[in-house]
Symmetry: C2
Subunit: 332 residues, 2 copies
Amino acid sequence: MKKLINNPEYVVEDMISGMIAAHPEYLRKSDAGNILVRKESPIKGKVALVSGGGSGHEPSHAGYVGKGMLDGAVAGAVFTSPTPDQVYEAIKEVDGGEGVLLVVKNYTGDIMNFDMAKDMADMDGIKVESVVVNDDVAVENSTYTAGRRGIAGTVFVHKIAGAKAEQGASLEEVKRVAEKVVANVRSMGMALSSCIVPAAGKANFTLAENEVEIGMGIHGEPGTHRGEIKTADEITEHLVTKILEDMPLGKGIEVAVMVNGLSGTPLMELYIANKKVSEILCEKGIKVHKTLVGEFMTSLEMAGFSVTILKLDDELKALLDEKADTPALKVY
Amino acid sequence: MKKLINNPEYVVEDMISGMIAAHPEYLRKSDAGNILVRKESPIKGKVALVSGGGSGHEPSHAGYVGKGMLDGAVAGAVFTSPTPDQVYEAIKEVDGGEGVLLVVKNYTGDIMNFDMAKDMADMDGIKVESVVVNDDVAVENSTYTAGRRGIAGTVFVHKIAGAKAEQGASLEEVKRVAEKVVANVRSMGMALSSCIVPAAGKANFTLAENEVEIGMGIHGEPGTHRGEIKTADEITEHLVTKILEDMPLGKGIEVAVMVNGLSGTPLMELYIANKKVSEILCEKGIKVHKTLVGEFMTSLEMAGFSVTILKLDDELKALLDEKADTPALKVY
């Protein structure tokens, strides 16, 4: 295992120290543990958003804590759900009196622990709602998931629900737009290589010299199939086709696109993939309103990428374009 | 070679198509070739900045084309200097009548070709000046370089000289602050793995299972030494120590820090490195005004990172904090 780390047991703590040192103008660490919140939390009169999950997906989720996105991010151990206590502490830390929306990726452990935290906060009289993101069209009922997995599309939920909350909307309204994003966002990914959880010390799957895995999850869960690597155009076309089979889009529809690197894939290759995404959408008369290319939801050092397509209406488009100021995503 | 590409001969063209598709609000492609310029170029009355070099270092340099940074970026083949003609065309495309500053990393091929382009533009009556960035403290007189290599510190030159140009300063003034950045910026990097130039199809160096290379260049040029991997704290301390030996900084000095991923290293590990950078600087009484953690000057899929420290004065600090709006760096 060749990693730039100290003790594998403290990678999350070390990372959080480095994040706070880098971004003191955005973030502070909760005294209650591995929870990062907006420096000015709690914000009176604003619905708060909390997300999180296992670590190893940086900048998800603490990189999105800031104006117009999240109020708090809970960091579990690498690829491990945060505890109910952690989520509960985050809720208490950010609640400004208008309630808290939990944005949860669809993994069984996350669902269970965020739900327990919600129940604990309910008993304190804090209004808490949650939405579950399940944007991965690749497979149903995967290793850690009943239904579909939540992957990079989650970042669009953070952005759009966060903008709604920043406008002063009620918890019900913020939840409504978050659910609208969930209903209209689809993703699918592929891997060129595996990754190593520091505490495990060995790869969680292996690929042969010329082999890739299509549709795998962001923790290396099995995808739809393996095969010899094809061209970027062929691979990208397969992913976009699968997404559009699941969510047919007619001519004139507007979308936002995210080409998300899993970490080991250079930006050059992500742009090469985006060339094909934009060509396919253009041929179909689908209008791309906004494109994000970069690393938004990673899988440790895994090489590979995912494509996310979000179908927009006027409301989602306006909220997507609202200002955001966070360490990992800035919109002005 | 497992890469997300189509024809290795067209990776730069494909990438540029994908960049234009992703960022039409910032960039347009010059008809003269692999040159990306600010959409609104030329901007009358503003000094223009042109940078560039071999491809494979994305988001350098086209990712920094936009308000408050570069006006044009010239993309050579992977790890290959752009031609004099390309640079000359970029100069003509962005000159708004106040002259053009070329920001060149210190590689023999780049120096020669940017100089020839300058001479060609001079004959057209365009005022052109250039600065050479040589921030890498690791080695002198490397594979492609007389003197020191130019690496990630170049991004601070783009940011600060770009801000000065945006304020309407003269070519002489923009050049002066660019040279001030060059005089006050130092970097050093290390690699955990090599990278493969697409057209070559094989790694340009190899490291054993537990081996790292300290001080290598962004094209895989030899560093100061190889050895078994140590902890993130030990590696980071070595890099920061080498930088501070070269540029001693007293108590109370303010700096900007960049912890730059070469591409294959996860953001989690870059933050772990930043923890140590900030601790060392804090112990020495050096004040960190701003920290950038992410991928700014990459080396294809190489795993590893570099640390850059920029010594600030009031002028550099103010220009660093000025607004910038580019695909890869936004400051508000």
